[in-house]
Amino acid sequence: MKRRSFINVLLSGGIAVWLGSVIASIIAYLLPPEAAVSDASSVKAATTDELEPDSAKIFQFGKKPGLLLRLEDGGYRAFVAVCTHLSCTVQYRKDMGVIWCACHNGKFNKKGINIAGPPPKPLDELEVHIRGEDIFVSKPVT
């Protein structure tokens, strides 16, 4: 192989690999990331047909769990589902009509206010926005 051809082959190969890395980066950027939830201040928590009145669901809100509560009148409330006692995840207990912590039996009412057990403070409340059929939950604007 002549020197000129050799350089051409190497140059073409180098350009091909470079182009490949550029295209791979673009594809990786266009494909959705594995983490469905980012640490953004707003997440889609549910759809409007998902929850019956007087029921709730836990969703991931950043690195914390969130609790979306559908009230008996059809309205929604959302909280950071982290107990203010020892940071266990709280859940809605339809039978008791309260938000309940399994770790030490802490109880919060449907407004997130601590009403029984060791929790010293109310739950942090989140804002609920309904856009079309989607329910978004976001950190309150301070």
Binding site: L11, S38, V82, S87, C88, T89, C103, P118, P120
Partner: protein
């Protein structure tokens, strides 16, 4: 004559009349204000305001008193007639004046109004009216009824004249102030000597987990003295009722203990449910070290390899499970922290870590079942979550190294390209003879 001459001029006369009217108006205004002041402040306050020391103190304090704010004058409690202008008349025993009440009479003195739902309903229908009744059942109340003037009565805790509602942070009975208020008597060795009671409760409480939460962290949800002993009906909780007292807040622990085989064993030995392991007043923040058979274990107080060995084995096994999950929690945590410090997105891993920590808390609560199998179930759930958290953390770290390697590789490729371009340019230059 000169004066008459002066007043004969119409303008001067008019000016004089206007001045006189102004003076009379001001004088009447002052008189009305003084009367209003007297009416508002009463003879008692007006006189005592001019006195000194302990005779002045009631006036200074009373202005911040809830009774004063509600419009109850001195005679509302002390009798007499606050509106009488003469001091002797206002303090006339014939008008019901009782002066400073005897400590033995204070409960019924306050109870006159506070035990009447009709009367109290006018001011605050939500206020309980059973304080005196409860007080009579307390040790304080019983001693008071027996003629003990030193023992606590209403004024000892609520104060005198400067009485504020319990919700007021400046009140002596506000949750944050209750321990110090009780300690006024109960930490005074001289005062408590005749009762043969210890005086280290406050010190112990302040060092304990509840005292630190309330007094240092200002968590008003943490219990003060009255939350365990009662307030108006204050009594030391008996052996049988300790678990109920603690169980008011620690519901799961009480339920698990009551369902455990140790409930019957403790009853047989007349041991109180909670304080046998956790103490009272100086309740330490519990750690895993108190479980098991190690040097700090409380299980060893009753169980050794030869004495009640079944409990010894259970304690050892429970501790092993707790240690396994605690160790796995720490390692999962360190993996996720490492990934986070390398700038990787670890939201999912941190979310799983929460499950691990919760499982550890629940496993520690489950210790009160004294059932190694139940503890293991919680620990297994935690280990599963820890495994997932570690997987996500390690994946994030692997991704970090992957990115670094490919950055190095692409830099090499780019450098190679630049080199090849230089060769190509030289070759083209040579060919064209430049």
């Amino acid at each position: 004559m000169r004066c008459i001459k002066y007043l004969s001029k119409p303008l001067n006369l008019a000016l004089l009349v206007v001045a006189a009217v102004c003076l009379v108006t001001v004088a009447i205004g002052n008189l009305s204000a003084q009367e209003e002041l007297k009416k508002e402040e009463s003879t008692c306050i007006n006189c005592h305001a001019e006195l000194e020391d302990e005779l002045l103190e009631p006036v200074t304090r009373f202005r911040h008193d809830i009774h004063y704010e509600k419009g109850i004058a001195c005679d509302g409690c002390h009798g007499g007639d606050s509106s009488a202008e003469d001091a002797d008349e206002s303090m006339d025993p014939d008008k019901g004046f009782i002066g400073v009440p005897d400590p033995l009479e204070i409960p019924s003195f306050c109870g006159k109004c506070h035990s009447s739902s009709t009367y109290m309903g006018k001011f605050n229908p939500a206020l309980p009216v059973d304080q005196e009744k409860k007080y009579r059942t307390s040790l304080h109340g019983k001693r008071n009824a027996e003629g003990d003037r030193k023992v606590a009565q209403c004024a000892s805790c609520h104060g005198i004249h400067g009485i504020r509602p319990a919700g007021d942070p400046l009140s002596k009975v506000h949750p944050l102030n209750v321990p110090e208020m009780c300690a006024t008597c109960h930490s005074d060795p001289g005062y408590m000597k005749s009762y043969e009671l210890p005086t280290d409760q406050y010190r112990k409480y302040a060092e304990g987990v509840h005292g630190v939460a309330l007094l240092q962290n200002k968590e008003t949800g943490a219990p003060a003295c009255n939350d365990c002993h009662g307030n108006h009906g204050a009594v030391p909780p008996g052996v049988a009722s300790i678990a109920f007292v603690c169980g008011n807040c620690h519901v799961n622990n009480m339920r698990l203990f009551n369902e455990s085989p140790l409930k019957a064993a403790f009853s047989e030995l007349h041991l109180p449910g909670c304080e046998t392991c956790h103490n009272y007043h100086d309740i330490p923040k519990p750690t895993d070290a108190v479980v098991g058979v190690g040097p700090e274990s409380v299980c060893r107080d009753c169980h050794t390899e030869t004495k009640r060995p079944a409990g010894y084995r259970v304690a050892k096994e429970i501790r092993k499970h707790l240690d396994t999950l605690a160790e796995r929690t720490r390692s999962a945590d360190s993996v996720v922290v490492e990934a986070s410090q390398r700038g990787m997105d670890v939201l999912d891993a941190e979310y799983r870590l929460k499950d691990v920590r919760q499982a550890l808390i629940e496993a520690r609560t489950m210790v009160h079942s004294f059932d190694a199998g139940m503890v293991k179930d919680k620990v297994d759930a935690g280990l599963e979550a820890a495994k997932e958290a570690v997987r996500l953390g390690e994946k994030a770290i692997a991704n970090y190294y992957f990115r670094r390697k490919w950055l190095g590789f692409s830099t090499l490729i780019l450098s190679f390209l630049v080199l090849m371009l230089i060769f190509k340019i030289r070759e083209v230059d040579r060919r064209t003879g430049r």
